[in-house]
Amino acid sequence: MDNSSKSEYSLKLFAGGALSTTQYALFAIQIAVVILLSWLGVIATPVVGPGIGFLYWAYPFFIVFTWWWGLWGVLAAFLGCFIGAGLLTGLPLIPSLAFSLGDLVPALLVLILYRGVLNKLGVDPLGRDIFKNKLAAFWFVFWVMGITNIIGGLWGVWVLVQLGFVPANAYWYGAGLWILGDAIVLIIAPFLARALTPIVERFGLTTKGIIS
């Protein structure tokens, strides 16, 4: 991918014109995918307390959705987690809303970095060069698997402790498991990007701005 193409992706709100019906349908599908995978992750590998799954399969997906579709991916992360990992696993409304910020914030931080900074440093904003570009690999590990993941984990478990779902003494253990599990599943994000980005691009569906 040449530099001119990389610079097409930015933090502009509306870089590509008005929203289309296809984007509307695509957003619904993103949310559905994140709901299903969040729920699966929590139900299949429960740890610590309700709403937390060790292998949180939705994570790499909403990261690639964020790469492709900007804010739509961020919102899908939030809504999908709220419904899939929250409501559908038995967490009440307010705890679900609160702890889903633990997905929204990391996704948003990923978006800001990739579209606002890294694309100017020669890193593919769609995550395809993680296996080829050392800089891309570094930032993926440091930022996506590291910093943003840690922020999400610390926040999410803290919410559950405050609401009485997780014992206070278990906070660091719980957060640790959350962060470790997410880091493991995030390994598949570059594979997803490599396999699926060509399809998204070929349909002309990537969002150059963060909304359109």
Binding site: G17, E201, R202, F203, G204
Partner: protein, 762 residues
Amino acid sequence: MDEPVVELRNIKWHYPNFGGMKSNFLMENFNLTVYRNEFLGITGATGSGKSTLCQLIAGLIPHQIKLPYGKANEYFDGEVIVLGNVVSKLEKKGNEYIISGKGAMAPEVGLVMQDPESQFLTMSALNELSLGLQIMGLPKDEIVKRIKEALEMVGLEDLYELIDRLHPSELSGGQKQRLVIASFLAMRPKVLILDEPTSDLDSAGKIEVIEAISRLREKGDITVILVEHDPEILKKFIDRLVVLHEGKILAIDKPENIFSDPGLSKYIEVSEIETIFKNDEDLVKQIDLEAARVYRPSRRLEKSGGPALEVRDLKYEYPDGSRALNGVNLTVNKGEFIALIGQNGSGKSTFSKVISGYLTKWEGEVKIFGKDISEKKVRVSIPEIVGYVFQNPDHQIFNRRVDEEIAYGLKNIGMKEEEIKERVDETLKRVGLSNKKQEDPLFLSRGEKRRLALASVIAMKPEILIVDEPTTGQDYRMSREIMEILLELNREGSTIIVITHDMRLVAEYCRRIVVMKRGRLIFDGTPEKLFENEELLKESSLLPPKAVQISKKLKESGIMQDLLLSAKEWLDFLKFENEKKRYVLLSFDSMKFYAKKLSEEILKKYGKPDIIIYIERGGMVIARLISDYIGVKDMLSIRASYYTDEGVPSTHVTLGSFDYNLDDVRNYILLVDDIADTGKTLQAVLDKIKKLTTKPVYVCTVAFKPHSEVKPDIFAYTVDNDTWVVFEYEEQETKRAFQKRNNEIGLKFMEEAFGKQGNKYK
């Protein structure tokens, strides 16, 4: 047809390429006009641009396609006008080119696409039907009224009571598609575009939907554009037919002209039946009756290997309580090629999922090559023995490259890398996808995906291959190619079970048909037997192919002995009729010669008969001659005829009375006739005689035709089945018969033969 409702002017369209393999598709200088109230058909091979054309008219192309901003001119040009509105037009604004126009013009223009899954947008049948109507802002009463009407039109009126409680997953693919069609019909569009809307429907469903649209056209102001491959549907319903090829119009004309144009046979299915018979009235005048009477089609013999599949009392109930299989019993032998047919929802797909080992909680017994598949270790090995090709290729294909898709199964069965590469290339060639080796299957056309789905399974060379609707969405040429591939596999030893609605291909390729209804088998037999069973056809809503319908009329009137199942069999018959006809004359002198010969043989083999019975009137002369030679005076006669007084073959033999006492017979009876032709007369008489005596009856004729049901014990010579033996003493009757049937060749022969004397046949 008067004013235009759709105009495409100088259209250019080229799909944008954002990566991957470039599309070569290009539409240039494309012009088409569709008139008010017209029923326009569009046909053409896969990839010819039919769906593109539909979407251009509907305004989805180019408006729904993402084009590089400001560069629309590289992809689109021209103008699309529908109902007086500019739907799409290229405009220049400064240095940039953009697409202007109204875009999709719902509800005036409706578009029903191929895949019902992506078009069914809501979670209940009611919401699906009312979606478009709500968008139109219609009042509730009007919505309810239109919904009822629309359901009736597509033959789903029995769903109305449950309409608000029906979930999409409770509907079959065919029902979903009909509901989608109904949802557009309810909107009462002025232009309705249907892009292969019936490809997932059974034949009855197809006809029902198309007839519904036709009725709608008669009622009101609607123009219909239909993409379809089936020439019988197109011929029956449409006014004009457009033939597309690689984005260009090859022909626009009335369907009967298109389908009888052999020059178009490369591009579309030109109905061979149409070229044989201009119309199917007065068929009797168009064919040689004598040839028809004697002709027996030669058909492939089904192999009878041991049982490959044994199913006993198979029952299956889905978790929600719905019963899909209600006690199925079936044995399929190794090497058979059978068709499994039935309406949507009859249980065919469930049955095949059980056999392929996917569904497990069934009752009954299922064995594959003698092994019970309820045992886990047997079930796990089923994929190596049973190949299953899905009805919807989107559900089957999951790799990101065509060659990887084929290689997937081969890797799983432990094949080596070099062998895999070779097998992949060989299979790609077989299905005509070699040029798409590296393509992402997601971007193949529907027909290409179907071929890929088939390829990915046949590459594994399964012993049993179950193929679910292999030809749906394919043009006829490709459908035939796929069936030929399956036939080839069958010859190589695979047992093939094809699930299909296509009765033409079933009639042509399968020697055994199994019909399912409501989870049970209701028929298991040959195509001929099925097509002769009117009640069963009606019950199963099956429509025999045109070739069968025509020959059925002839069989019912006694002209033909067998049904001809396909255009190929018809052509073989006509070849037989035209090329192999011969006439030979048997003079009286020759008869004397043969009578002497036969008498010597009779005496040598069996001794003197007690009595000679001859069949009137043909057997009279030879019987008298023989009786003179062997010195038997006791002679009886029996009238028997396979022909009506008009000289047309009947459906049965008419026997005269025969009330003789045969108790005195001590040795044997000699039954004499001039020729063993079909053998029906001889058999009928033999049956009659054997009721009166237990003594042996030996049959003696002058001539014998190999296809005769009765082979005489003694005969003088053999003639070909298609040879007409003219006896001198029957000159006048024969002439009259030829005259009645307009048999000019026969009459010419008579003229030549009886102008000269002498035996032409020794």
